[in-house]
């Protein structure tokens, strides 16, 4: 493994995927370095979520390659992605509503006793630890997550992503369903994780969110990459122009989707 800061944690090259003849993602390349937050912007239907689902293993791309730490990675299932340290917080949270917080956090990666049974006590103890860090007021460990508030459910989804030492974190519209205080909590968390050297893809259609947190932005439109830019080199209006018109400003590197 290269500790070199210039080797991207993750690089997606020329990724394409089509559904029923419609190219949802068309030749998109993005990358992410350690401790970097990259905002992925675009309208609804621009292909952001699809691109990210390819990285998290939910879809297999028709074309293109994914490199993790400079080495070609084969990601065909969510399990593969997790093996590479890629964790995802989905917009829908992807929680099993009928199961408690510990059950959800360890879903698919249960801790077992030597007899091969579920070690619920250990999982609950670990859940209490990680939740104490994320949401100190969280008390409802024994209830199905259906009974939790939006913010609490969000904490469970985040806990699941960070508990297993993620190196790459994908956050798909992480604040869409949250109030202002909880949004601030998520922002603080992003900055804290960034300090720990985790790379974060932040997907949003709200550019204010992204400008506050991201180091770089990549903009997609109609499945194609309009361009990428350092946040410092472009204005919010210019990024808005990229999103709406597909127009790439001088401060950005244009992609195949630039008009």
């Amino acid at each position: 493994m290269q500790a070199n800061g210039t080797t991207p944690l993750v690089e997606m090259r020329d990724i394409s995927i089509a559904f029923g003849g419609i190219k949802a993602v068309d030749g998109v390349s993005v990358d992410l370095r350690p401790g970097e937050v990259v905002g992925l912007l675009g309208h609804n239907g621009a292909g952001k979520s699809t691109l990210i689902k390819i990285l998290s293993g939910a879809y297999r791309p028709d074309a293109g390659e994914i490199y993790v730490n400079g080495e070609k990675a084969d990601i065909g299932t969510p399990r593969d992605a997790k093996r590479y340290g890629i964790e995802t917080i989905y917009q829908t949270l992807a929680l099993a509503d009928n199961i408690d917080a510990a059950g959800n956090i360890f879903l698919g990666r249960e801790v077992l006793t030597p007899y091969g049974t579920l070690d619920d006590a250990t999982m609950e103890a670990e859940t209490r630890k990680v939740m104490a860090r994320l949401n100190p007021h969280f008390r409802r460990f024994k209830e199905p997550v259906k009974a939790l508030s939006g913010g609490q459910r969000q904490s469970v989804a985040i806990a699941r992503a960070i508990y297993f030492n993620a190196r790459v974190l994908i956050m798909d519209e992480p604040t869409a369903a949250l109030g202002p205080a909880e949004t601030q909590q998520v922002a603080d968390l992003v900055l804290q994780l960034k300090k720990e050297g985790i790379g974060i893809f932040l997907i949003s259609h709200d550019i204010h969110d992204v400008f506050g947190l991201a180091d770089r932005v990549s903009v997609m439109k109609n499945g194609k990459l309009v361009g990428s830019a350092n946040v410092a080199d472009v204005t919010q209006d210019e990024v808005l122009g990229m999103i709406i018109l597909g127009k790439c400003p001088p401060g950005a590197v244009p992609g195949p989707g630039a008009s």
Binding site: A96, T117, F141, A147
Partner: protein, 431 residues
């Protein structure tokens, strides 16, 4: 996993109702209350015929086959699927093992060979499991809706059952095999029943103690010590009461005399009272229930089954192999049909191609009365078995009262709908 939300006390709760302190499942308690009401009601209406050791013993034997299959149906329904083919699978498996022990095995081993029964049981489980896995494969990997696959299965396996002997009934069964159906051969007797009850009580106490110690070791809140004691007393009391009732039902005089003669015991003047004890099919059903509960609650497989039912997409994204899990659920269902085929074939002492007709509906109704949600994700094994007992109690009770068959069906159907309505009300209230 049913509605722990309502029944779990928050940590360090100082107030709260008695039930929440004891962490008892209120739903399950409601079902037990309903069952008690049905039993007492029938007892009063029948002039004391219902709550007799004899009737309760028969009731337990009659429930066994449906109860065994209902444990599998819970998992099927929890994954948002359905299995309409269980009765037909029971039918075809029953026919095959009937022919196996009446025609094929005697030709090879001779009649009444001790291996006949074990071979028949293993064959039933394997054939049932294979049929279930095949249907599960169609559902999980070819993405054909389970309703359709198992509706087709209902017709296919029922037809296959006829095909085995072109409709002829096969009888009688091997003597040792017949014990699986209960009856005199399948009653375990007083001593064995008390031993089993004592072991069960010991296990209850040990399990409660271990769970408590584990929670204390991790510093989790525990229910008060007297609460555990109350639960232990009630659970052990129920086990011992059931054993006492099973032992209070003596063998009929003629059978007892034959038994005495066969065992070289002189027939005393006043007759001989030989208790039945628990019936083998009932013991099988209880063991199946415990095994299935273990699978559903303590094993990864069970966790995945519930996760798939709660949110299939989330389960998939968590890296769970949802297809293989689903295929296993149907395989398990088929395997349990194989066990039930043994019980009902042995009880009838004959294999007929009509065996298990309409069982799919009783099995589904048991699971649903027992609190399994058709929306998926919610259900308990114990609830479904209790549901099977409720249904069988209604039917036996009405037979005892001489209610006409059509009216029996009307009542059972109405109770099914009512039970689901009440359950829905309860769930909405606790939300």
């Amino acid at each position: 996993m049913t509605a722990p939300a309502a029944t779990t006390a928050p940590p360090h709760a100082t107030s709260g109702s008695l039930l929440s302190k004891l962490e008892i499942d209120v739903r399950m308690l409601g079902m037990l209350a309903a069952l008690a009401a049905i039993w007492i009601g029938f007892d009063v209406l029948s002039g004391g015929l219902f709550l007799t050791p004899r009737n309760l013993w028969n009731l337990s034997v009659q429930t066994a086959s449906i109860a065994v299959m209902s444990t599998g149906m819970v998992l099927v329904i929890v994954t948002r699927n359905i299995d309409l083919s269980v009765g037909a699978i029971l039918g075809v498996v029953g026919m095959i093992i009937g022919v196996l022990q009446v025609q094929w095995l005697p030709a090879w081993l001779g009649f009444e060979h001790w291996l006949t029964a074990p071979i028949a049981v293993v064959a039933a489980v394997l054939i049932g499991g294979a049929i279930g896995l095949f249907q599960g494969w169609l559902i999980a990997y070819l993405a054909i809706p389970s309703f359709i696959v198992t509706l087709g299965g209902l017709l296919v396996w029922r037809g296959a059952a006829w095909w085995v002997t072109t409709g002829q009934t096969v009888a009688p069964m091997d003597t040792r095999f017949k014990a699986l159906g209960g009856g005199v051969e399948g009653a375990l007797g007083a001593t064995a029943t008390w031993v089993i009850a004592a072991v069960a009580c010991g296990l209850i106490v040990v399990a409660l103690g271990l769970a408590r110690r584990r929670r204390i070791r991790f510093g989790f809140p525990v229910r008060p010590g007297w609460g555990d004691a109350v639960i232990a007393v009630f659970a052990c009391g129920a086990v011992l009461a059931a054993a006492a009732i099973a032992n209070a039902y003596p063998l009929p005089v003629g059978t007892a005399r034959r038994w005495a003669e066969a065992n070289g015991i002189a027939w005393p003047e006043g007759g001989l009272i030989i208790p039945h004890g628990i019936a083998l099919p009932v013991l099988i059903a209880i063991v199946v229930g415990l095994a299935m509960t273990f699978l559903a609650r303590r094993r990864r497989f069970g966790r995945y089954v519930f996760a798939i039912g709660g949110n299939p997409e989330a389960a998939e994204l968590s890296g769970i192999n949802t297809r293989w899990t689903l295929m296993k659920v149907f395989g398990l269902m088929g395997l349990l049909c194989g066990i039930s085929a043994c019980i009902s074939t042995a009880r009838l002492n004959a294999a007929t191609n009509a065996a298990g007709t309409l069982d799919e509906l009783y099995v589904i109704a048991s699971a649903v009365i027992g609190g399994t949600s058709l929306a998926g994700g919610i259900g308990t094994i114990a609830g479904a078995m209790l549901g099977a007992l409720v249904m069988q109690s209604l039917q036996s009770g009405m037979v005892l009262l001489g209610v006409d068959t059509p009216l029996q069906n009307i009542v059972v159907g109405a109770v099914l709908v009512l039970a689901v309505f009440v359950d829905g009300l309860y769930r909405r209230r606790i939300k």
